[in-house]
Amino acid sequence: MKSLTEFESKRLLNEFGLVSCKESVAKSFEEASSAASEIGYPIVLKISGDGTEHKSELGGVKLGINNEADLSLAYNEMQINNSEVSEFLICEHIAGKREFIAGYHIDRDFGPTLMFGLGGIFAEAFTDVSFRLLPCPREELLRMVHELKSNVLLNQFRSEPDVDLEALADILEAIAECGLADPSIQAIDVNPILINGNRPIAVDALVIKL
């Protein structure tokens, strides 16, 4: 099993139409700083490269960095705590109250499957996911979205607008097509998908190959 890095995973998925946050890889603070200016603050700083699949547990994610001074502090701290890490990811900070997850998985009995579910801090307490066997038509993707128990979150919610369901189906379609296009892909996790206004945006992704 080999994982692509977060950056590689998102680039691969982008080829299939996945909408994800703006981001850039940096190997030095200068590169990080210039990437941050280009993307625009606030930004998110993450460790990147091999062995960083579980970056949150390694203290390798810092959200809501508002300026260069904060970036410098976060960069140095992360570098000290993760001495083997050689590169960093500078990502657009996506605001969104609603979080979902999606993924691809090859079931041992039924073959390729697609998952969509509730994300965020409650996802561990309430497993709320739906699946489809792949390939399947787009109507099934829309149906699987509505199958969630928490599907009220797709409607207007706490002053946030209705989720753009077609855009959400586009994300699911991209994941499905990416997985089906390469038999060596064993699994894809896109976690989280944040709903920014009405737009779903993939914020993190992981592609696992044989």
Binding site: I101, R108, F110, R132, L133, C136, E140, Q186, I208
Partner: protein, 486 residues
């Protein structure tokens, strides 16, 4: 598999031979022959037994070699594993196209059995012979009057077909079929699925003109994707009801991804069944009730249901169950309310459920059933309270203080129960809409005239309104199936 299994011959043989027939009524080789004879199979029947000249009036043959040429095309093989494999070439020479292998001792018994099973399949494939089982209890085909099984019972004739990975669960459903007078077309205990797997049985039932409804109990799937494909192919035309056993163990699933850790066997299996347009049942009893409903009732056009009740509490319970389902406890149409007013005193519910509140007289129920069911907005009906008058009749009939008056009243109650059942059957037929009758009396008193008239007519009588609601919901879902290709 390299060749198309010939299940048509298995279920419709011109002649059958019991290989390894026994003289002992406790042995498989006796029971199988007995059941074939008892059910009245009209084709050729032969039996082999090297020691005995005759069993149950059938002249036995010393070996397969003595069977007349071209007299049989199916064999019920009641030999041990090695002997079974050895006899296949001889059977093929006699024109046998399909066989059922009863014996265990194959894959289910360990490494040696697994090797034997491979050999069994290789030999059968090389002979282009279809092999059902091994390690199964046999099969039933009522259009052929064929009961080729080592267990009981032989069910009534009908259009429900069952393939079960458990012989006992198959027998349980055949027992239900007999008790509830629901007819069966084909039924098979599929055993180890060595050569013919569950998907092939489902496909066969799908194209079998005798089969209208399919039920399958599944544990392991040799090829999950092919199973899914078979459900998808068949579900467009016929309801396929699936029960899954063995869903709790999930430890073997390696989860390198978050998605994988969410993909429990149960979740993916349920996804596959419903995505294919088939119907999941939670247990064999529910599966049988669903199947009985599909087999005996017209499909509802929509989700709107009216509950008619003479039994207040059950009406409330039923309304609750409907509100938890995807059925629609429709508002009573104004024009229908006005029409019902003419048959009942003002205390009736004037709502759905239509609770008659004891206001009915001699002709009220037989008049109301077609009136309500015939209303253009109504898709289906649940009727509660059948058998209540019959219950009183029973008490009068059994009474130590019976009089000519109680006897007369009892007979009136009995004739009323029959009229209600007839009105239900006729209205359902006239309007092409399903009526679900639910009463515990169908079980507690099988002689009660109401439920009995229904069951005798081959209609389903549900033991509880909750199971009636679930079965009706399954039918409404199937009627509205939106999956690919339908």
């Amino acid at each position: 598999m390299n060749f198309q299994p010939n299940l048509d011959t298995l279920f419709n043989p011109k002649g059958i031979a019991v290989i390894g027939a026994s003289t002992h009524p406790g042995k498989f080789g006796f029971v199988a022959l007995h059941n074939i004879l008892a059910a009245g199979f009209e084709g050729n029947v032969f039996a082999t037994n090297p020691k005995t000249p005759e069993i149950l009036g059938v002249q036995t043959l010393e070996s397969v070699k003595s069977i007349p040429e071209s007299s049989i095309d199916v064999a019920m093989i009641c030999l041990g594993p090695e002997q079974t494999i050895a006899v296949l070439p001889e059977l093929a020479e006699k024109g046998v196209k399909a066989g059922f292998v009863v014996s265990g001792g194959f894959r289910e018994s360990g490494f040696e059995g697994t090797e034997l099973e491979k050999e069994l399949v290789e030999v059968a494939n090389s002979l282009e012979m279809t092999i059902a089982g091994p390690n199964g209890q046999g099969f039933v085909s009522t259009p052929a009057n064929l009961c080729s099984q080592i267990v009981s019972p032989y069910p009534p004739t009908g259009n429900l077909s069952i393939a079960s990975q458990s012989g006992n669960i198959l027998s349980a459903m055949l027992n239900q079929a007999r008790a509830k007078n629901i007819g069966i077309a084909r039924a098979i205990s599929i055993g180890n699925q060595a050569q013919v797997d569950i998907a092939e049985y489902i496909r066969y039932f799908g194209r079998d003109p005798e089969t209208k409804v399919i039920v399958s109990y599944v544990e392991g799937l040799p090829n999950g994707r092919d199973f899914y494909d078979s459900l998808k192919e068949v579900s467009c035309g016929k309801p396929v009801i699936i029960i899954r056993g063995g869903t709790t163990s999930d430890g073997a699933k390696a989860a390198s991804s978050h998605t994988g850790s969410m993909a429990s066997d149960q979740k993916i299996f349920e996804t596959a069944v419903t995505q294919a347009g088939a119907i999941l049942a939670s247990d064999p009893n529910e599966a049988f009730e669903f199947a009985a409903a599909f087999a005996t009732k017209p499909l509802p056009n929509g989700r709107k249901v009216i509950v008619v009740t003479t039994a207040g509490g059950w009406g409330v319970i039923t309304a609750d169950a409907i509100s938890r389902s995807r059925l629609d406890l429709m508002e009573l149409p104004q024009d229908l309310e006005e029409q019902i007013n003419q048959f009942l005193p003002p205390r009736w519910s004037k709502n759905n459920p239509v609770d008659l509140a004891g206001g009915e007289t001699r002709d009220t129920i037989p008049s109301l059933i077609p009136l309500i069911l015939g209303h253009p907005q109504v898709d289906s009906m649940i009727f509660l309270g059948l058998g209540i008058q019959g219950n009183v009749a029973r008490t009068y009939k059994e009474s130590p203080v019976a009089t000519a008056e109680t006897e007369k009243m009892a007979n009136f109650h009995i004739s009323q129960e029959k009229r209600y059942a007839q009105a239900i059957i006729k209205s359902s037929k006239d309007f092409g809409k399903p009526v679900f009758v639910a009463t515990e009396i169908g079980i507690t008193d099988t002689h009660n005239a109401g439920p009995k008239a229904l069951i005798d007519a081959g209609e389903t009588c549900f033991s509880s309104p909750l199971s009636a609601v679930k079965a009706l919901e399954a039918m409404a879902n199937f009627s509205h199936r939106e999956h690919e290709g339908c």
